[in-house]
Symmetry: C2
Subunit: 201 residues, 2 copies
């Protein structure tokens, strides 16, 4: 990790060039361009222009564009993992499932996370590094849900099957966010939770 | 609909320029570029170059790029509707659900359809016309599944809830196609069918 740049001359006429830019700022800017345009639009020159800083500053933090892209995937993976772990923790299965199934409902934050995730999946269709990251995240989430369900008493096979449906619910709610209003979403959440948490038939 | 162009001089040295290009050929080429790159890459000049034909020929079929894009969405909507209707028809609910839930499994064709759909959803994040088309398709499929479930005896609310889970299953199987092998897919299909077709609790 490189040190952040400090350009602290208070009398400068261009305030944007005086920002302290961290590695994370570059990653966030890259995610912004990825979401609003596509991976092809994530170019060092475009980012530097958006951030009002020289291209040289970029190389202070990253060896090349590829390292920046790896940083984007790393950040996404990390926040994704944290999200899943936070959702379970010491909760009962019912609380945990409620939280996990409700993830796509948490307003603007969830909306934004869904857009980032969608953009990364689109990128993964054409890029091996992104494909690998998406696959790891998918497998990690599914294993996590299956583990929680198994711990709560479902058989291994039952837990794996239900984990897929939990994840399907999440993915589809995020994808179909426009189709349902809040009332319908709550109804679907209640129904799905009840269906998946019922004891083995 | 304009007439297809015929350039039938057998002695021509450039065979690609002698193809009979229909409106549908342009739409298919546009879908190809949409999937392999993104909507931004779908430009008349690039398509003409790929097809080995002059730009002028494009305007034989379409007023402008926007009409081509509308054609892409129209073709997708049509094939999507046909797919859904074919899946139900005169079948029993169990057969129909089996077919609908199996849609993401039909090898290369399903894989290609999923890629087209994904690319259109990505486009819909940034474009009103595409957004509208996606929303209509989503609502149409959900209404169709709900109708089939209701016809088979489930209450209206139950049918709407289950229709969402059927659609979630489809969407997620298409999205997570890499995560599961054939055996796991079959297991998930059997489990989900049984879970969703069980009578109201």
């Amino acid at each position: 990790m490189s040190k952040p740049e400090v350009q602290a001359n208070e009398a400068q006429p261009k305030p944007r060039t005086r920002r302290i830019l961290t590695r994370d700022d570059w990653i966030d800017a890259a995610i912004g361009l990825l979401v609003s345009k596509s991976i092809d639009a994530v170019r060092v020159e475009a980012l530097a222009k958006d951030l009002g800083i020289t291209i040289g500053s970029f190389y202070h933090h990253f060896k090349d564009r590829n390292e920046l892209l790896a940083g984007v995937l790393g950040k996404w993976h990390e926040s994704t993992t944290a999200q899943v772990v936070r959702a379970y923790g010491d909760l009962t299965l019912e609380q945990a499932m409620h939280d996990i199934l409700s993830l796509p409902f948490h307003g603007e934050t969830a909306r934004r996370a869904a857009m980032v995730e969608f953009a990364i999946r689109a990128w993964a269709r054409r890029d091996e590094m992104a494909r690998q990251a998406v696959r790891e995240v998918d497998e990690q989430r599914l294993a996590y849900y299956a583990g929680a369900l198994q711990q709560a008493g479902f058989s291994k096979a039952e837990a794996a099957n239900k984990a897929f449906l939990v994840y399907s619910f999440q993915i589809s709610q995020a994808l179909l966010w426009e189709v349902y209003d809040d009332k319908a979403r709550k109804r679907l959440l209640g129904f799905t939770k009840k269906l998946l948490l019922a004891p083995d038939a």
